[in-house]
Amino acid sequence: MLETGRENGRTISQTFLELIKRELLNMNDETILNEPVQVIAVFKAGHHPCTPIKFKRASGKEVTVEELGLRHPLPNGLKTIHAFDVTDGGTDYRLEFDSERLTWRLTMEADHYE
């Protein structure tokens, strides 16, 4: 482990601290949420017919979507929930759109130990 630390250009203590941090966090880089959010989305023709461009969290914080990573349906019986994995350029988020109720929720936030 210590050899590996040197090989990757880190000091031994940096590697050790990184591993301890991950152990303490139980490797969990994701925060699972179920937060109603207000979303501005663009609906258009093409392969990606719906793209969220901005959302406002319950705290009032506004997040501008820099890129839509992937949109995919989530299995939930006959009801379709669309998951949008997006990023603001620093953090990845998952927004879920309930096509029956027409509501948006923020369900995941991940920073990948930046």
Binding site: G69, H72, P73, L74, P75
Partner: protein, 420 residues
């Protein structure tokens, strides 16, 4: 088209010289690439996909960045973190991979009606019966077009390997020549050059045991394998018609376009902790029974046999099975048989699994003395299945499996696309 059953045996220097019309498409490090597509902040970073986020879990896919640091599929996450401390472990997210699978399938079906998905991340297009507008085009151009469509229709990070040849085996071999994002063609003109750069174990289907068989008759390289005598392959090396199939396969003749029949439906589960009580293990087994029953009915099958196994912490393997005279299909009937069999299972279990076999159609034409009982059971099962289909999996399930859903979630069905 298939030569598998054909008695025709090409002469030693005869290779299939027809136009290559088989295309193999393989998504690169599929699950890791899809996660990097979904989460742009992970692109260019070493990531590993695991089924459970524990140190002892095995890696099911690693990104190319992780592979470059020596991380391999099947390696324990703990070992991977020693090689690559920066690795980000993500739990698999089957709904994403299913979506990408269906998008890939849609794209492939635009080019031919003869598309076969070999697994969740690879498929084959057979252009033999495509329209002239498609088959008349250069297949390399079509390959490039498919690569671009993956980026346009799914996302910019998506990449795939494409191989083109005269049969499925050589097309797959071609797809593996230049990872990632390669596109290669194997023809009768370049087959010797290609094989000269491949070890025996680089060939799909030649693993350690087959390699030993070949070595035992002095075949150490792929070119020597190509030059081998068909009689020796059949009678000495493989001791069956398989030897002849290899002789044809390496010469570009098709022997692998066989449709496989569903023989059994099953599930397995590695316990989340190894100190669970017997009741807790049985609860998880019950969950597996419900899952297997649901899958079986989805395919409109019933079964007559059930097989249950347990792997123990001391690397032991226990199994038991029972065969019934009448077909069964309900979760309850599977569970009651499994429960009876599991009574004899040993202690110290680390993995459990079961499968149903002797499958037949769910519509039972033969009535038995118990027909009324079976009909009533079937109506109940149908009502439960309808509700679960309408409101989502496991909306209704037995009280015995309450709370097991967070552990025994469905993971990625490797090697099978039946439930996608």
């Amino acid at each position: 088209m298939s030569n598998a059953a054909s008695s025709y045996l090409p002469r030693h220097h005869e290779h299939n010289t027809e136009r290559p019309l088989i295309m193999h498409i393989d998504l690169n490090s599929c699950f890791a690439t899809v996660e990097q597509q979904a989460r742009p902040m992970l692109r260019g970073k070493p990531i590993a996909i695991v089924n459970r986020r524990t140190d002892k879990t095995a890696i099911i896919t690693a990104s190319y960045e992780a592979k470059a640091k020596g991380v391999k599929v099947g390696m324990k996450l703990r070992e991977a973190r020693l090689l690559c401390p920066d690795i980000v472990a993500l739990e698999s997210d089957p709904s994403k991979y299913r979506y990408v699978y269906h998008k890939l399938l849609d794209i492939m079906r635009d080019y031919s009606a003869h598309v076969t998905m070999k697994s969740i991340d690879e498929g084959v297009i057979d252009f033999h019966e495509s329209s002239q507008a498609i088959a008349g085009r250069d297949l390399v151009d079509i390959g490039m077009e498919i690569k671009q469509r993956l980026k346009d229709e799914i996302g910019v990070w998506m990449r795939c390997n494409i191989g083109i040849s005269t049969n499925r085996f050589l097309a797959k071999t071609a797809a593996g020549l230049n990872k990632p994002d390669g596109l290669d063609v194997i023809t009768s003109q370049n087959i010797h050059t290609v094989l000269s750069g491949l070890k025996l174990t680089d060939l799909t289907g030649i693993a350690h045991r087959n390699q030993q068989r070949l070595n035992s008759v002095g075949i150490y390289t792929s070119l020597e394998f190509l030059d081998a005598d068909p009689v020796a392959l059949r009678k000495v090396v493989f001791k069956s018609v398989v030897g002849e199939w290899w002789y044809k396969r390496l010469r570009g003749y098709e022997v692998d376009d066989i449709e496989t029949q569903v023989q059994r439906v099953g599930r397995q589960y590695v316990l989340e902790r190894f100190d669970l009580t017997r009741d807790e293990i049985v609860q998880r087994l019950h969950h597996l029974c419900e899952s297997v029953g649901s899958r079986m009915r989805l395919q409109e099958k019933s079964a007559r046999g059930v097989y249950v196994y347990a792997k123990t912490l001391d690397r032991g393997y226990w199994h038991a099975s029972s065969l019934s005279p009448l077909p069964f299909f309900s979760d309850q009937s599977i569970y009651s048989q499994v429960l009876q069999l599991f009574d004899n299972a040993p202690d110290g279990i680390r993995e459990i699994g079961l499968h149903c076999y002797e499958l037949g159609p769910l519509d039972m034409s033969q009535l038995s003395l118990f027909a009324d009982e079976i009909t009533r059971e079937r109506h109940i099962v149908e009502a439960v299945d309808t509700l679960n289909k309408r409101f989502g999996d496991r909306t209704i399930h037995s009280a015995g499996t309450l709370g097991t859903g967070i552990y025994v979630r469905t993971k990625i069905p490797f090697g099978s696309t039946r439930y996608l």
